[in-house]
Amino acid sequence: MKFQIEDVTVYFPYDHIYPEQYSYMIELKGTLDAKGHCLLEMPTGTGKTIALLSLITSYSLSKPQSPMKLIYCTRTVHEMEKTLAELKILHNYQIKHLGPQARILAIGLSSRKNLCVNPTVVAAENRDSVDAGCRKLTASWVRALAEENTDVTTCEFFESYEKAASAAVLPPGVYTLQELRAFGKEKGWCPYFLARHMVQFANVVVYSYQYLLDPKVAGIISKEMQKESVVVFDEAHNIDNVCIEALSVSVRRQTLEGATRNLSRISQEIDRYVFFYSRGLYRCQFLNWIMVGRFKATDTSILRAEYNRLVEGLVLGGNLPITDNWLSNPALPDDILKEAVPGNIRRAEHFLHVLRRLVQYLSGRLDTENVEKESPVGFVASICSHAGIDQKTLKFCYDRLHSLMLTLEITDTDEFLHIQTICDFATLVGTYGRGFSTIIEPFDERMPHIPDPVLQLSCHDASLAIKPVFDRFQSVVITSGTLSPIDLYPRLLNFHPVVSRSFTMSLTRDCICPMVLTRGSDQLPVSTKFDMRSDPGVVRNYGKLLLEMVSVVPDGIVCFFVSYSYMDGIINTWNDSGILKEIMQHKLVFIETQDVVETTLALDNYRRACDCGRGAVFFSVARGKVAEGIDFDRHYGRLVIMIGVPFQYTLSKILLARLEYLRDTFQIKEGDFLTFDALRQAAQCVGRVIRSKADYGMMIFADKRYSRHDKRSKLPSWILSHLQDANLNLSTDMALHIAREFLKKMAQPYDKTGSSDKKTLLSQEEMEKLGDGSMHEMSY
């Protein structure tokens, strides 16, 4: 359908629209007009994504004189695919109505691992080896060598992409990752570099949060995005965590050992050059180098050339070929010093000495028996006094290493991750004085008998990483189904939204049924509170709850636990007591594990079990990967059971440090933040059941603590408004009864458009009939 919002004609690819989608668009348009930032909370299951895409693309179509780019950030690759699929529906619709002028280019961007089509490279196990495998074939020096020596292999896809030069463009259209790969295969062009290239020209770019928030990645990928862009962070309830993770590094024993190995390898490489430089060639070794393709045709004075370049103040030699790009500086662009590398590390050998001393110092610090917490300033001071490395030198560590690796023409970068981590650490600790702390823990609190020292530099201030984004781009939209309390986010992220709103959901029928279960079938309270969680009675009550539900609820059931270890424990107990066997008689059981491949396959099987009518239960973990981004809509999830309140591990030193920082800086109370954080996770978990108003699902919060007002009130309003007082303090048998009633009610046919006084679905005519004014009133 097609309708006006003030001066913009909005093209919406469906015949009907929800009223809240319409008001969402109005708010969004206000934000775009004001060129400001906004914060919008809209319940899941109301078509946020399509409303967003629809308005922003229509907005930019209506203003052809000032084209606007949409940068759409998702948390996961599968969400990226979903978004692009929705965009494709929209794009087809717009082309149908507007003709070729509506054509846009929309691409998804991911890592080499997900885009590479070279069979030998992509066969590698993980992302890092794919990256390294690609560099081995495409690095500028490898290609230069290949021109002289035909034995050196290059990547045919990259070569033909390079050959096509400026002719290598993507025709307009919407490209998911899969389609990018297909296009690349067909043309024989490398899809990864093609996509990287096309990012500058695309109207819509969909990629992961980190491509914008993590300075290491943003520095190379998002450098050239124009100011006139709209940045959307979808499902942004965890955005503060992404921000602080982007600036946090930890160092462990293995890291230091690996770094030491890396350093000796680098020094071997340097010696080789020096050896060339000073003595000429050793015949046999020369042959050997030719064999392994290590021989560099240029004069061996590149180290000298690098030194000269560094003296001139250039950290990296001007414009690097796209293939030589490495991860960028871990510090934020504004904080990187624009000056020459300090003299004491300009020479490769000297730099290596500095790094050796640093590694030695860090390993000394790891040998502690007590937990140590220090501010970065103090840490730098002690490095300076013990290892003789000053702050400025630390700050340049990353760039200097990068330059050295390039100079040494090292392609197997996956081998050098450890030293890279050390340099990241050094640069960050040297750059930031506040908002961070360094924490050394000799062992994990939960396993005190196993020594596992770790040194963590953790960022506490989410606003640091996101600040450049707010500063740089015209509009930033932060949206999710759970942003309650909505006034907290501007404080955490330190920005001033022009619009900040929370929408409720107008339902045709009560298609969600939240319940708080406080007691088991034996009327004893259930909870995952630390002192209760391992009580056999509680475990049994949870098992009985699931068992009863499994026999009543059709199709899919999802069950979230508070942590992996708790889930493992409880499943083992259920297995021993036979409850699991009984559950299996009703439904198949699938479990999220730490192994993503296995979890993905389990999910796939879970969906097939729901599709074929067998029905299944999926055990998952709050804060896990599944909870973050997999939908359990329609028959894939008729019931979600949230077992326990997913609090963070409150004894974690990092968390404590962050809480302290939040209290001191933003006056946010510890308890409030913890509850807020736990409840947003819980809401996120249960919110995955519903996708549209035709869908329905139940949510059981199984913990006595949910019945307390201070916990419950932190839930988003769209859940709270359906949580009836009668459902606040249930036992298993009562919940079972309610579930039966609810399912029976939902199975009846109903009028999708809602009753006449409260429209929940609007058609084209109704949209035209209703003026803007009345629409506004209706949706509030």
């Binding site: 690759v77 691992k113 980190q210 946090s248 160092v251």
Partner: protein, 574 residues
């Protein structure tokens, strides 16, 4: 015909060789009386009919004299020689009639309820059929309960219904049990530490399916390298080690025993299968792709999360297998279903059959490698928001067509609603084409097929659907319009109840007629009795029909009168 007795001259013979005693044979419903002409001869006979079991007679045209041979229940026989065949016939018929009558009493327990031996399942099936189809139930009530037809007769003409249901049942393959393999608990003798496992081929098949490595090991080790008994002993030893969750002990034992290590190690076949499968999963689920995108999974970047530590544990990891893995694997296998169809008896056979079926499925997997399109379709279907979109699929009638009338009536409604105008379009297109154009397009499509081969759906689903629609439309048209059109039938002008009654009579008459004609030629007394019963039932209905007929005539007359009065004329009436 309906005479109560027959009297004929005949000769009575005690044996075939006996020349016979001439006399008069008199048969009534009760008894057979033979009085010889010569009162002194000893051939006098007085037998009650209930002792007579059967009759044989010579055929007309054969060179034998017209004999009637009645056998009694002591295997004795009475032979009568008649003067001519017509006498014989008359007597034969009479005997037949009487015997049949007697049979009705005596045979009932054996013939009328042969279905007492029916299995409970069959009985249930019949009851289910009756419950599902009210019309059938009505017929059943009318004929079987009132005794016109027996239960067997009624169902004999509906074998198809029974068969289909039955065959459906047998065809369904059993899946795996929902219980896990680890639930196999050993039995102990209570005195020693020895435990005994009871393995059925069923369980073994499940083990093989869930643990391909064990399957492979079985194929290569048994019986060349070790006996089946040792094999399973080792297997359960390994399972025991797993259950102790002591990965160090497991590693130690594995180091000593190469074969045991096979069971203890992570299943490498599973791992490679997983890698293959992961390429085919729905992209909206693919968390592995996430991993590839995730920069914070660079070692030691980001904040340590719970659990990330376990990734870097010692090499004993190799011998560690979690319960979750087992559960996932079990559920996947159960979901996949059982591929092997063989009668499970021999373990070796089980193993080989499974290997074969795997080979087949992997071949298939390679051949239909291009599932990406299907995945994309699925994805786009999933992305659509269902209630914002208009109804996507046409309303479908349920697949099970018990009563064609229901089906066609509902299809008619659909067809009228949706495809009315579409049909018009098709006809227009057809009309607009000249012969040349048709020929040209045919040639074109043939050459394109030659060049590119057949495309996957030879007929586009939309086209097929349209054709199908048009066909149902025209078929249902005739059915539906019967009675709609006043010129064709009067049925629909009747009140609803009468119409239903009429239809019911119609079906019941059909049922009776079917049975009636099926009984001819009457070769047994049983059939004879049946036909009689049918005739009675039909004659019961007939007067009702006449009454209906009269009613209809009366109705028509009054309608005509009324229309003539109001001056309205029915359609088409000039």
């Amino acid at each position: 015909m309906a005479s109560t007795h027959v009297t004929k001259r005949a000769k009575y013979k005690t044996t075939i060789k006996d020349p016979g005693t001439p006399g008069t044979l008199r048969m009534t419903f009760e008894k057979i009386l033979f009085v010889p002409h010569n009162p002194k001869s000893a051939g006098k006979l007085d037998v009650e009919f209930r002792y007579i079991k059967g009759k044989k007679h010579t055929k007309e045209g054969s060179n034998k004299p017209p004999w009637l041979n009645l056998t009694n229940n002591q295997n004795g026989s009475f032979i009568f020689e008649f003067e001519n065949y017509s006498d014989l016939q008359e007597c034969r018929d009479f005997v037949g009639k009487v015997l049949a009558k007697g049979g009705e009493v005596s045979e009932k327990p054996t013939v009328a309820y042969p279905d007492e031996q029916l299995s409970a399942a069959e009985m249930e099936l019949r009851i289910k059929l009756l419950q599902e189809d009210s019309e059938l139930q009505k017929l059943h009530k009318q004929f079987v309960l009132s005794g016109v037809l027996t239960e067997t007769e009624f169902w004999a003409t509906r074998k198809k219904l029974l068969d289909r249901e039955a065959s459906k049942k047998t065809k369904q393959r059993l899946g795996f049990k929902s219980a896990m393999i680890s639930d196999i608990k050993p039995s102990t003798d209570g005195r020693t530490n020895k435990v005994t496992f009871n393995l059925t081929p069923e369980v073994i098949l499940q083990i093989f399916a869930e643990k391909p490595a064990v399957h492979r090991a079985f194929l290569s080790y048994v019986p060349n390298k070790m006996s089946e008994r040792t094999f399973w002993t080792k297997y359960f030893r390994a399972e025991y080690l797993h259950s102790t969750k002591n990965s160090i002990a497991a590693a130690a034992e594995a180091a000593e025993d190469e074969e045991l290590a096979v069971f203890l190690k992570q299943d490498d076949i599973l791992a490679s299968e997983a890698r293959k499968k992961i390429r085919r999963v729905d992209p909206t689920l693919d968390m592995e792709a996430d991993e590839g995108d995730d920069y914070t999974h660079l070692p030691d970047h980001g904040i340590l999360r719970e659990g990330s530590k376990e990734m870097t544990e010692s090499q004993n990891e190799l011998y560690k297998r979690s319960l979750s893995q087992d559960i996932n694997r079990h559920a996947a296998v159960v979901l996949e279903g059982r591929a092997v169809d063989v009668e499970l008896e021999d373990t070796k056979a089980v193993a080989e059959a499974l290997a074969q079926s795997k080979q087949k499925s992997s071949n298939k997997g390679e051949s239909d490698g291009d599932t990406s399109r299907e995945r994309l379709d699925r994805l786009s279907r999933m992305t659509e928001i269902e209630d914002l979109q208009g109804p996507n699929t046409l309303p479908l009638a349920p697949l099970c067509i018990k009563d064609p009338r229901d089906y066609f009536d509902s299809q008619q409604a659909n067809a009228l609603r949706s495809s009315g105008d579409a049909l018009g379009e098709i006809e227009q297109i057809k009309c607009g084409l000249s012969t040349q154009e048709v020929y040209g397009s045919l040639r074109e499509s043939i050459s394109s097929i030659k060049a590119m081969g057949l495309k996957e759906p030879i007929v586009k689903p939309e086209v097929a659907h349209q054709v199908f629609d048009a066909l149902t439309n025209s078929i249902s048209n005739t059915k539906y319009h019967i009675g709609k059109n006043p010129q064709e039938s009067v049925l629909d002008r009747l009140p609803r109840k009468t119409k239903e009654e009429l239809l019911h009579h119609w079906t019941s008459i059909l049922e009776l007629l079917k049975h009636f004609w099926a009984s001819y030629p009457i070769t047994t007394t049983y059939l004879y009795v049946k036909v009689n019963r049918l005739k009675d039932a039909m004659s019961n209905i007939y007067p009702q029909l006449e009454a209906l007929d009269a009613a209809i005539q009366h109705y028509e007359a009054s309608m005509q009168k009324r229309s003539a009065q109001s001056g309205e004329r029915p359609n088409g009436y000039v």
